[in-house]
């Protein structure tokens, strides 16, 4: 069974692909059957991925298999699978979260008119994401990378009758295109220089390549892919808006799986980045900046999903930063634990929104703790895990990242990381105290969600508690013994553990004072630092800056280009087209319909060819033929 799963890992993305096809073609009119079929297929994928994990744990050596997709001189593109600890972990996480979210969606999407197509999209997404993580080469990865982008677009705009959803979907798509373009350029460069796009082959060749300058350019180009997909500054703007989609979609795509594809890409192609220290530094600082930047915005937001979205951005920044400082293990570990507790938080938020008929402003909530006990408990577990409180999942992974930053000499980033940890604890518990323990609003009638929604919450809650234990530094064989780049190393620093916990507790305590006890007035502080508050509340006006840029620079350039197109290009093109048509007409009338004309052309052509050959090459002696013989 285990051997079968490892050898046939291509079945994992195939199952949801089948589900997608069957639902689209046969089950459109039967919503319940669609949900059932979709969940069954992803369950099979999940079981297979368990087999893959078991196989990887028994033998961490990479297993690769591939078929040629097409080949031509100088370019062979294959479709294949590469199973090693990193992809094994990802397959497990993705199929697990996808399964739980689909189960949850049965309750959340109930009575939605697009129920069937929703599950079709979910299956398509699962297929694409699983195909992405097991890819063994850049082309396949790019294909699935675009497919997950497409699914994200489809699902953000799922409620397409809302203008905001349409706009958000468009924004996500366009912003991602910017990053994908750079990524594609990087891939093309790799193909041109190295002649292969296979990860294993590239990992062998790249360290021996001397031209570091060019390699740096390539690495940075490839990094633009993750900047777009994983919402790093300055292409982060699409992710908060993407919250227009259904909440389970936000949980699956925009928190736990798709957005970490960028992080995963860096980890997968770490052989490339490891060869160019400059690129790594850029990555580290972009990540660190994004982490801090997003966290500061999160403390002022009021929409429950937007707070979580900025939190996601911040945590993604964390992971990217970890990669940048060389902590691949830490980053992947945080990716996994983050997937658990952030999916939990989003699903919990979805449960709340579901109970309040779509209200998302935390100030309109309040008093949910008593009415929705399961949701509340699991949400608090998730928040504690995110804040990094011992011994929950986030604690272990966050410490790993801080340790990696500090031990590799990035003291500045270590301090930023600690500050972010403080902010994280603060904004999460601001959310918890206001939404769950604030004063109950009279016109709300919350009720606990059905079991089909709370069960995934409980499972994710458990994972958020115990999920981090696999990475405990005291274990002789832990997460880092499998997932690493270069040398596996174990180590821990009590100092970091203690300080980070204390910092997080301080954040929680501050939130407690401000929003539960109200001994410190939040509005007073906001008034006091009015400028900063407004700046943060408006997300540093980044959207507005982009809008201004689009209005003035892009549109201006567009107008100029349009003028050129209209008067110069079109003139030439129309002229060419006219010439072509006319020559076609002339050629047409050569065809007289007279059989004997055709025969004469035939004979004349033979004569012309004889003359041609004879004139081109007198040595053939054809021109002499008339005289002699």
């Amino acid at each position: 069974m285990i051997h079968f799963a490892v050898q046939n890992s291509w079945l994992i993305p195939l199952m949801p692909a089948i589900a997608f096809a069957i639902i689209v073609f046969f089950l459109r009119r039967t919503p319940q059957a669609s949900a059932f079929f979709s969940i069954s297929c992803i369950s099979v994928s999940f079981l297979l991925s368990l087999g893959v994990v078991a196989g990887v744990l028994m033998d961490p050596a990479a297993v690769e298999s591939s078929v040629t997709w097409f080949s031509m001189p100088g370019l062979t593109v294959e479709m294949g699978t590469l199973i090693d600890p990193i992809s094994g972990m990802m397959v497990f996480v993705v199929s697990l979260i996808a399964l739980l979210v689909q189960i949850y969606s049965v309750g959340y999407m109930e009575n939605d008119p697009g129920y069937s197509i929703y599950f079709a999209y979910q299956s398509l997404f699962a297929m694409s994401m699983l195909g992405l993580v097991i890819a063994n080469n850049f082309v396949q990865m790019f294909v699935f990378w675009e497919l997950v982008g497409l699914c994200s677009y489809l699902l953000i705009g799922f409620w397409f009758y809302k203008i905001s959803a349409r706009e958000a979907a468009k924004k996500a798509f366009v912003t991602n295109r910017v990053g994908d373009y750079g990524f594609l350029l990087g891939i093309l460069f790799l193909q041109i220089i190295f002649g292969t796009l296979n990860f294993t082959d590239l990992a062998q060749i790249i360290p021996t390549y001397a031209n570091v300058g060019l390699l740096t350019v390539i690495a940075l180009l490839v990094f633009t892919g993750p900047i777009g997909k994983s919402g790093q500054f300055p292409l982060h703007v699409w992710l908060p808006d993407a919250m227009e989609g259904p909440t389970p979609v936000s949980a699956l795509i925009h928190a736990a799986t798709m957005v970490v594809a960028g992080v995963y890409l860096i980890a997968r192609a770490f052989f490339l980045f490891a060869a160019v220290p400059t690129a790594l530094q850029v990555i580290a600082y972009v990540g660190g900046f994004t982490a801090l930047f997003a966290a500061t915005i999160a403390i002022t937001q009021n929409d429950i999903k937007r707070i979580l979205a900025y939190s996601t951005l911040s945590q993604l920044g964390y992971m990217v930063m970890a990669l940048g400082v060389g902590g691949l293990t830490a980053s992947m570990f945080h990716l996994m634990t983050h997937a658990f507790f952030k999916a939990l938080l989003f699903l919990g938020a979805g449960s709340v929104i579901h109970a309040l008929q779509g209200k998302q402003d935390i100030w309109e909530m309040g008093g949910l703790a008593r009415k929705m006990p399961i949701t509340t408990k699991t949400f608090i577990i998730g928040s504690l895990a995110l804040a990094g409180i011992f011994p929950l999942a986030g604690f272990w992974s966050k410490d790993e990242i801080l340790l990696a930053a500090q031990s590799n000499g990035f003291t500045g980033l270590y301090l930023i990381g600690s500050l972010v940890a403080f902010l994280t604890a603060f904004y999460m518990f601001r959310l918890v105290f206001v939404a769950f323990y604030g004063q109950a609003k009279p016109n709300n009638d919350p009720h606990e969600s059905p079991a089909v929604m709370t069960t995934p919450l409980i499972i994710l809650g458990l994972l958020s508690v115990v999920g981090g234990l696999v990475g405990m530094p005291w274990l002789s064989t832990n997460f880092g013994s499998y997932v690493y780049f270069g040398e596996a190393h174990h180590g821990y620093s009590l100092m970091i553990m203690v300080t980070s916990t204390v910092i997080a507790l301080m954040g929680i305590y501050l939130a407690y004072l401000m929003y539960y006890k109200k001994t410190i007035s939040a509005s007073a502080i906001a008034n006091r630092f009015k400028a900063i508050y407004t700046l943060l509340y408006n997300k540093y006006y980044i959207d507005e800056i982009y809008q201004w840029g689009i209005n003035h620079i892009v549109d201006g350039a567009g107008r100029v280009a349009y003028w050129i197109d209209l008067h110069v290009v079109d003139g030439v093109v129309n002229g060419l087209a006219k010439g072509t048509r006319q020559s076609g007409t002339i050629l047409r009338y050569l065809q007289t319909g007279q059989t004997q004309h055709y025969g004469m052309v035939l004979v004349a052509a033979v004569v012309v060819i004889i003359l041609l050959l004879g004139l081109l090459d007198p040595s053939l002696g054809i021109s002499a033929w008339g005289g002699g013989n």
Binding site: R588, Y589, Q591, T592, G593, Q594, Q596, G599, M600, V603
Partner: protein, 103 residues
């Protein structure tokens, strides 16, 4: 004067050209078919002459010639049938009248 290969080739070449001229210049479809027959016969003369003078021990050229005669007969049979059909449709065997299909 002995008759050499060149004489035969010259005869065949002339016959071929006459046939070609007939096929391209005559207006009557039957005459055109006759022109084509001349071209094919020129080929047969060529084959037989080459066989006789270049490789008298093998009979490949003769065999080829027989095949050509048979195929020419088949071709002209179909050709005459077509001319009849066309005559039925258009009451003419003048090839220049047949230019419905053009441009």
């Amino acid at each position: 004067m002995t008759i050499t290969l060149n004489h035969y080739l010259l005869l065949a070449g002339m016959l071929f050209c006459i046939g070609l001229y007939g096929a391209l210049a005559k207006q009557n479809a039957i005459s055109i078919l006759m022109g084509i027959e001349l071209m094919l016969n020129a080929c047969v003369i060529n084959l037989v002459a080459f066989n006789r003078f270049m490789a008298p021990n093998h009979l490949v050229g003769h065999a080829f010639g027989l095949f050509v005669i048979a195929l020419a007969a088949a071709e002209v049979a179909v050709g005459l049938a077509l001319v009849l059909t066309v005559y039925r449709d258009l009451l003419s065997v003048n090839i220049q009248d047949f230019d419905w299909l053009k441009w």
